[in-house]
């Protein structure tokens, strides 16, 4: 019996889900812009303490992981299974590098006594407390999305290796790619808003 299939429907569904994600992050972006408007100087002061090199590196890491993801879909379309698996593994690996860098950044901040509701944080100006609050929530929620993306792509990697994702049937891989690129897009905005505050 032929399995029911609707690739266009599946992709449309994924896009609809991503729309809800835009609004989920959108609320936080709105909070950020309102507080930054009111506490511009404090936001600048607090942002000076973030590691700009780590932020820039992570931007390049995510962009490159997105390239690997796009190429893995192009590879499976041409029936190159091994190449597709290798490229998906590259995406997963780069996702892990991103999280590792993020881990070191958060460790540095927590090492300085800066974490939500910490005594050192509460001694800072109101605007700085808001900046760090938004920083932890927004990069945290984004990090959670990276973890989910890594899990989903790892699953796809196994499916591709097993031959369940093929040159003619790969909408699941495409949808995982859409999710991963979306996560990359969010970071594209987070990067200048937290690391490049003038």
């Amino acid at each position: 019996m032929e399995r029911h299939r609707d690739d266009i429907g599946a992709r449309t569904g994924m896009w609809l889900f991503l729309f809800t994600e835009i609004l989920l992050f959108g609320g936080l972006f709105m909070l950020y812009s309102m507080f930054r408007m009111q506490h511009g100087a404090e936001f600048h002061k607090a942002a000076e303490n973030l590691n700009r090199i780590a932020g820039t590196t992570n931007t390049l890491v995510l962009i490159t992981s997105s390239l690997a993801m796009a190429l893995s879909i192009a590879a499976i379309r041409r029936g190159r299974k091994a190449a597709s698996v290798a490229l998906q593994a590259t995406t997963v690996l780069l996702g892990c590098v991103f999280l590792l860098i993020k881990y070191f950044e958060w460790s540095t901040e927590i090492g300085r006594g800066i974490y939500p509701n910490s005594p050192a944080l509460l001694k800072l100006d109101h605007g700085e407390i808001l900046f760090y609050g938004l920083y932890f929530v927004m990069t945290g929620l984004h990090g959670l999305h990276v973890i989910i993306g890594i899990s989903v792509i790892s699953f796809m990697l196994v499916s591709t290796a097993k031959g369940n994702i093929t040159s003619t049937d790969h909408v699941r891989l495409e949808n995982s790619g859409l999710y991963w690129h979306f996560v990359d897009t969010i970071w594209v905005y987070l990067f200048p808003l937290f690391y490049l505050v003038t």
Binding site: D7, Q38, L67, H181, Y189, P192
Partner: protein, 100 residues
């Protein structure tokens, strides 16, 4: 039997590996530009430039990596909905906070 077949071929023709690599190169260049502009410390203008560059990068990802360029007109139009909605929410809240 395979509804995606013709459309798949269309996608394949338009999305060579080269397209993706060029999109990636554009993203790297835009990242370099945004960091470069930051070092000039332009103040408010700097914020606007950073957001424009971020939106250009988002556009590259959406059009090339996420293939929005090849999706149906319907989906492309529907995509504008959350974007406009978010713009309206942020814009109206901005006005509210500004004139409070």
């Amino acid at each position: 039997m395979n509804p995606g077949k013709t459309e798949q071929l269309k996608t394949e023709n338009k999305n060579g590996e080269m397209t993706y690599i060029l999109a990636w190169a554009m993203l790297v260049a835009l990242t370099a530009i945004t960091v470069g502009v930051y070092t000039l410390h332009l103040g408010t203008a700097g914020v606007a430039i950073a957001l424009v560059i971020a939106s250009l990068k988002a556009g590259v990802i959406l059009l090339f990596f996420m293939h929005l360029r090849q999706e149906s007109r319907f989906l492309q139009s529907v995509f504008l909905l959350p974007v406009f909605l978010l713009g309206a929410i942020i814009g109206l809240t901005f006005i509210d906070v500004w004139y409070r």
